[in-house]
Assembly symmetry: C2
Homo-oligomer: 202 residues x 2
């Protein structure tokens, strides 16, 4: 990688951490200059505007999430094993307070009412994720693991809810059972997709 490339990457890693703490809107080129020990004019050479910086930070967070969660999941057999791998890695991402994946939860509520290219990109990133999940579910249907009439996008929305509740109960409520509850909810989703009778609590 070129020197310019690795400098840019180092700046963006600080950017992802910063955006996680203060929000994408709270990121400033000045604070990033302090964090990286670079001059403000040097940072302006990399990012011409605050919006360009926010988009680059979002792209970095997306790359981190794709590398940590999506690509490894797509490497395991299709259908149920693949959706399980994706779920497990997504949970790990939520447990890790430094992971870029969490930036997406924070940025979603921060930007949902702020029209513009950053919000548009954030929405597109989420839609890409849900389309990936829906595709994995369709693979499970094709493999005969899930019912033919499972709605793959509904599954993606339901899984999104499981993960958002997990994040909420783990991060804000400090609930020791947050992970256990998320696993139970995920297993219930899979059971419903397979059309198995509910397993009674032990």
């Amino acid at each position: 990688m070129s020197r310019g490339g690795s400098t840019r990457e180092a700046i963006l890693q600080h950017g992802v951490e910063g955006a996680y703490r203060v929000g994408l809107g709270g990121l400033t080129i000045g604070d990033l200059a302090t964090a990286t020990g670079m001059s403000k004019s040097g940072l302006y050479a990399h990012f011409r505007s605050k919006e360009a910086l926010q988009l680059a930070v979002l792209a970095q967070a997306r790359e981190e999430f794709t590398a940590a969660v999506i690509r490894p999941a797509l490497a395991v057999p299709r259908g149920e094993p693949r959706i399980r791998e994706l779920f497990e890695r997504w949970v790990r991402c939520g447990l890790d307070r430094s992971a870029g994946g969490c930036l997406f939860v924070k940025a979603s509520t921060e930007l949902d009412e702020q029209a513009g290219p950053v919000r548009d990109q954030l929405a597109r990133d989420h839609l890409d994720l849900y389309e990936t999940i829906a595709t994995v579910v369709r693979g499970g249907v094709a493999a005969g693991q899930f019912r033919a009439d499972v709605d793959p996008v509904q599954f993606a929305a339901d899984l999104d809810g499981v993960m958002l509740a997990f994040y909420h109960w783990y991060r804000l409520l400090d609930d020791d059972l947050a992970q256990t509850r998320a696993r139970r909810a995920f297993e219930a989703l899979l059971r419903a997709a397979r059309d198995e009778p509910h397993v009674r609590n032990p």
Copy 2:
């Protein structure tokens, strides 16, 4: 209500709207003074500190949510009708971009890593809501509407996930089907609590 009381309430209504736009952390006594046409010193007489203001705004949002969602739900027959009323009113709260209920979603991701009395109060408010939901579910079990082994807190966490996903898909993704998907997910939760077989998609 005393003049001081109604002035305070007017300030807090501006505070809830402001906090919804800029976050609880972005609220300033200066901005509120501008919005209400009061002097900063007049506002300081009502709220001695930014933290006191944040707590008062949170209390106002909680009161609005309780009046719009919780109290009317508790007025209908216990168990399933009550949880349905709560769900319907909660959805309406999510659809209404001016409702205080939404402040809770925004404040949760804003404050989850910021230790202090405001975060503690926000967590307590959420725990109160989930305990209310769990109690309604227990009422449904006692009435024989739900299975005896339904886990009421798991139900509350699952419903929280349905609502968070609804909010996310409606607000950020502008998904026309967000409300439909939330209803399907809610009906699936109820079916699982009743232990009925899944209804296949038409």
